[in-house]
């Protein structure tokens, strides 16, 4: 163990190991794509890339949320149910605003913003519990999972939240660019052409929204003082306190940020499916945590990057779509995700230079 981490073992094996360290996730992703290109009909196609990104949006956002929390050495179990909560709140607020007489575009914009603000609340409570009351993150965020679940069901009385203005669905399922044959490129609005005319659709709206937000947070994590503080307090809480970092405030901010991203995922969900339900994101928690872990972060905190987390999320998304298109039942996906998750952590341990920081809890 020790030599594998520090020593650069000489010879071919050592060279191979240090080459693979940090790159194996990318290599795995490429191999996966090549494999499915051969086995799944229609997989190697530009459209399937769009589909993959479109249906992966929520997992991408939740994975980034989880990454920030995991870098601090915590865990956020509530993101899935915050997503569900936000999807309901978004629908309720937008509808209420439309009923109140606001024009539809204003109602949608205002509703989305209001949802994101409401969505900060669970995170603020989580952060307060973890930072000030010293409640273990697992318990604090699991409590929040319960509270979000309960409040969501109370709001919708145990059924679905349904109905949004058509415009919301158009945004949620629309594309940025359209190109019909013999017509110029148009932005946002599908061209009025006869049915069955092949229209080229480019870049789903929500994918762009998610990509911009994720890029911003990648920058925040990698290039700002806030990001450095988070790595520092995840690496060593004691050292961070002595270095004068306001650790409690940073932890509060990280959980609020996580909750914000989960709410954004909830808003995109409500626009995509024009419905909201309490357990909309329940099954995404495994994917989100797995993406972060496959991306090489450590459960003990202090390491992980947005880029590598996105590769982790892409590995899962490709797996999902590839299996679907090959007609393999989705059950197999759960097994593979579980296996890849554990293997990723093991591989990460035995490959040098892959870990950004080392924290060996057990001897």
């Amino acid at each position: 163990m020790e030599t594998a981490k520090h020593g650069t073992a000489p010879g071919l094996a050592g060279g191979l190991r240090s080459f693979l360290g940090g790159r194996w996730v990318v290599i795995f992703l490429v191999l996966e794509i090549v494999y499915f290109s051969f086995t799944s009909k229609g997989f190697a196609d530009f459209n399937s890339v769009q589909i993959l990104l479109f249906y992966g949006t929520q997992v991408f956002l939740l994975a980034v949320a989880e990454l920030f929390v995991i870098i601090t050495g915590g865990i956020d179990l509530s993101v899935g149910y915050i997503l569900g909560f936000a999807s309901i709140v978004s629908i309720k607020i937008v509808n209420a605003l439309v009923v109140a007489g606001l024009p539809v575009p204003a109602a949608i914009a205002l509703g989305a913003v209001a949802t994101l603000i409401v969505g900060l609340v669970p995170g603020l409570v989580n952060g307060w519990l973890v930072a000030w009351l010293k409640v273990p993150p697992f318990i604090a965020t699991f409590s929040m999972l319960g509270v979000c679940h309960g409040v969501s069901e109370l709001v919708i009385n145990g059924v679905y939240a349904l109905g949004m203005p058509q415009m919301a669905a158009d945004i949620g399922n629309g594309y940025i660019l359209y190109k019909a044959p013999h017509l110029p490129f148009v932005f946002f609005t599908p061209p009025q052409v006869a049915r069955r005319t092949p229209v080229l659709e480019l870049i789903p709206n929500i994918v762009i929204v998610a990509a911009i937000v994720i890029a911003i947070f990648a920058f925040v994590l990698a290039r700002t003082r806030f990001g450095r503080h988070i790595y520092a307090l995840g690496g060593s809480m004691d050292a961070a306190v002595r270095a004068g970092i306001p650790t409690k405030r940073r932890i509060l901010q990280v959980y609020a940020l996580s909750s914000f991203l989960a709410s954004l995922a909830g808003v995109t969900y409500s626009f995509m499916y024009v419905s909201g339900k309490a357990d909309a994101g329940a099954s995404l928690l495994l994917d989100a945590i797995a993406a972060v872990m496959i991306g090489g972060a450590s459960m003990f905190g202090g390491s992980g990057t947005v880029g590598r987390t996105m590769i982790g999320a892409l590995i899962l998304a490709v797996l999902d779509l590839g299996l679907r298109m090959a007609g393999v039942p989705t059950f197999n996906k759960y097994i593979l995700v579980g296996v890849i998750l554990v293997l990723a952590v093991i591989v990460e341990r035995y490959l040098p230079e892959a870990q950004l920081s080392i924290s060996e809890e057990r001897k």
Binding site: P136, G146, A290
Partner: protein, 359 residues
């Protein structure tokens, strides 16, 4: 944990306060029972109490499993889906054996035994991955979460497995005593000539699951508090380093603990087939593992390890169960239950922080 109390100043709180703090969940349970009994006329009855306890058999088993793992400072997220996997595979196996023309009783016994043996496997894998490959328990068991769920769904194609021997629910939901007041008393089954339509007039007392779960929990509590196995479990959770220096084979012991956990989940899965008469896979929002962790923490354990009791966790299960049942009977929307669990959990941790040296 054990050694630290001696070095500190004597605790400020009086013995009474400390006794309440140590058993606050039991006190809360009593208080809740009294309040619900006064608030709703239908709550306080033997039938209701029996039903709640009977329906929580799985909860007790899973919480006991989680207790051992949490005392070592680990966590087992896979138990809910291991339970589903065992339920489905027991049912599938019974279907196979029935198709071979085996008698019902043989089928049921054989399938149960085989599945209980198989249920050791997920825990063995968890334990080896955690100790040999140093994967954090959270990740290792989360991986098993996915694997067990996937295999269960594969086995049953996403549908419950039905068409099993009728014997199952009769045993799983049977009672020791059947009494028609002033008329007769019958053991194990209602008298054959008694019409089904009048079954509600019967007093059905002591479900089979009750002596069963008391025996299992009693055995586990004994193992935990009175044997070397239990002392080692606490020692590992208290300090891994000290345990290694004290000569405990920590890796071996941890593997045993994860195997025990998955075996108990296996018992829960087989019991599930007996109770419902079909094989059920675990759904995503069932959150069995989380409710088990919640019960264990409410029962006084600490996620950092070294603390926890089997019967404490059982009280935690009862708190959650009677909360749900009481709310339902008093006509409150059941969704408040989720919120209440969250609040109780945070309260449990705050009590744990205020009285850190309680064991």
């Amino acid at each position: 944990m054990i050694g630290s109390s001696g070095a500190k100043a004597p605790p400020l709180a009086s013995p009474l306060v400390r006794a309440i703090a140590r058993n606050w969940s039991a006190a809360f349970l009593l208080l809740m029972l009294v309040v619900f009994s006064l608030a709703t006329p239908n709550f306080l009855s033997i039938t209701n109490a029996q039903n709640v306890v009977h329906l929580q058999t799985i909860g007790f088993l899973l919480a006991a499993a989680e207790t051992f793992v949490i005392i070592t400072g680990g966590i087992d997220l896979s138990i809910g889906f291991v339970m589903g996997l065992c339920s489905v595979s027991a049912a599938k196996l019974m279907q196979l054996l029935m198709a071979r023309g085996l008698p019902d009783a043989t089928t049921v016994v054989l399938a149960s035994v085989v599945v209980l043996l198989l249920s050791l496997l997920p825990g063995l894998v968890n334990g080896i991955v955690i100790t040999r490959f140093k994967v954090p328990p959270f990740i290792a068991t989360l991986g098993m979460w996915g694997i067990a769920n996937g295999i269960a769904l594969k086995l049953c194609d996403g549908f419950p497995v039905a068409g099993l021997p009728d014997l199952l629910p009769r045993v799983g939901n049977g009672y020791l005593l059947y009494v028609l007041p002033g008329n007769f008393l019958s053991f194990f089954d209602k008298p054959p000539d008694f019409p089904d339509a009048r079954i509600r007039e019967l007093w059905r007392l002591i479900p089979f699951s009750l002596p069963f779960i008391v025996a299992v929990l009693g055995f586990l509590a004994f193992r935990l508090s009175r044997t070397a196995f239990g002392r080692h479990t606490y020692a590992i959770g208290g300090s891994m380093d000290a345990s290694i220096r004290a000569g405990i084979d920590v890796d071996r012991h941890l593997v045993k603990v994860y195997v025990l956990s998955s075996f108990l989940a296996g018992i829960a899965g087989v019991f599930n087939v007996f109770q419902t008469g079909i094989g059920n896979y675990t759904t995503f929002n069932a959150s069995y593992e989380f409710f088990a962790v919640a019960a264990v923490v409410i029962g006084g354990a600490s996620l950092t390890g070294g603390k926890g009791r089997v019967f404490g966790s059982a009280v935690g299960v009862l708190v959650l169960a009677f909360l749900e049942n009481g709310l339902a009977i008093s006509g409150v929307q059941p969704f408040y239950r989720y919120i209440a669990v969250g609040v109780l959990l945070v309260f449990a941790v705050v009590v744990d922080k205020l009285f850190p040296d309680l064991l």
